[in-house]
Every structure is written in C-alpha cells, then in structure tokens.
C-alpha cells in the first residue's frame, strides 16, 4: 500500500470501479481565464466519462477541445472516511446519435429538464485515486 501525504493511493482497478459506480461528479474547466467547477450526472461509457449538456451552454463551450479535470468521491462526514478519484483528459462534444442512445440505455438522463441535447465526453488520460486511512491508537492500519 502506497501512502502519499497521509493518503493511501488507490490502485487503478479500484479507482476505475469508483468511477464506474458513481453517478455525480464535478468537472473542472477554465472559463474566461478563471477556474470553475460544475457538478454533472454522468456515466462511464466505453471507458470514458460522458454527460449531457446543451449545445450553447457555458460548460460545453469551456469543455470543447480543452483538457479538463473530473472528480468523484464518496466522503462520509460522520466517520471522516472517504475516497476520491481524479480524472484528467481532453474533452469533446459528441454528436454521434449512437452515443446518445447508448447513454440513455445506460440510464444517463439529464437531471435538468429540456435543452440538454449534447453529450460531452472526457477521455481519462490520467486517473488517480486516494483514500483516507486512519491509524487507530492501538497501532496497525485500518482503512475504510
């Protein structure tokens, strides 16, 4: 187990599993030279992160052809436990109706009503994951 800055580094299969089993993530983009983060509901489809957007939206403009960050986590405030996965990669607008059909078939419906007609796809070039590890007073290592 690799520990870095007090956090356990997840192996790639666990990171991809967390990514595959979450439904809400956050996209980090640059808008007007300023950083921004937007939550999206998404699916992992053919190994890539996909989510709905609308063609003229600020998010789809910022994400088109840019390298973006995408993060999911499952933090639990009650016991201070949690894991997170960070994806970094190029994003693109996908106009292929087959991808839209596949996304809907995978249960990816826009949370927002109407006007979400475009799919944005993030290719996960870099994937990294971290887990909070607590060492109990008795010694040894315990992780959630």
């Amino acid at each position: 187990v690799l520990i870095e800055e007090g956090l356990e580094i997840l192996d790639e299969s666990e990171a991809m599993r967390l990514l595959a089993n979450s439904e809400v993530g956050r996209v980090g983009v640059t808008m007007g030279a300023l950083p921004a983060i937007f939550p999206v509901n998404y699916r992992l489809l053919d190994g890539a992160v996909v989510f709905w957007s609308s063609a003229g939206s600020k998010l789809s403009a910022a994400a088109t052809g840019a390298v973006v960050a995408f993060e999911v986590d499952d933090y639990n405030v009650a016991d201070r436990s949690g894991r997170s996965v960070l994806v970094v990669g190029p994003s693109e607008v996908v106009d292929d109706p087959d991808v839209a059909f596949k996304a809907l078939a995978a249960g990816l419906a826009p949370f927002v009503d109407g006007a979400r007609s475009t799919i944005i796809r993030i290719e996960p070039t870099l994937v990294s994951g971290r887990r909070i590890v607590h060492v109990p007073p008795g010694g040894g290592s315990r992780s959630w």
Copy 2:
C-alpha cells in the same frame, strides 16, 4: 426567479447559506499546467473558506497565491434534485495560530491523520449558485 440554461440562479444569501452549512467541498487548482480537483473538509470562517493542508503538499503548493475554484453541492440522485455553489477567489496559506484555533473551535479537524498543520484560506470574490428546477407535466414550477 432567474433561470439560466435550465437552472435557477440562487440569490446570494441562499448560496452563502449552502456554503455555510456544508462540510465537504472540492477545490479546483492548476498543477503542472493541468487542472485538478481535490475534495476537502472545510468551514466558512469570517466569510472565507478555510481547510487544513500540510505545508509541503501538492495542494498547498498549487493553492498558494493562486486564484482557485471551490464548489459545494447537495445533489440527490434519487429525485434528480440539487443545488450547487461555486466560489472563485484568491487562496493563501494562513500561518496565524489564531485562525488555526478558530478553525478547531468551529469543529474543523483534518479528516486525514497527522501532518495537516497549515490552513488554506479562499477569499470568496465571486459566489454563484444554481438549483435544478423540474416542471411537472401539469405545468407550474416546482423546485426542491
């Protein structure tokens, strides 16, 4: 009620309330010319976002003196409802022991064991919030 791209824009008091009442947020920074997002547990202290970090960490290096993004949300997958708040502002490392004491008094303890000795503070220069609004088939507007 202002609607933008299918989302209701929160007024500033509601955005600040969501920020004040959440405990886990995500920080968006640039690291080695690439975007990155990290979850942190935080508090709103004297109107600013504060969280623990360690002096030599990658996050504190990236956040020192930079303009960063900070996001909180309360999305609910079951009923496709949710709100999010985006903060953008300069961040700095705070070495004032009084701030550390105040943060601990406000219940802000690092989730991660040991080696979290520095406080990072984000000044919320820009605050914006959005809410998903669903229009029921019968017409009218219903929001969660």
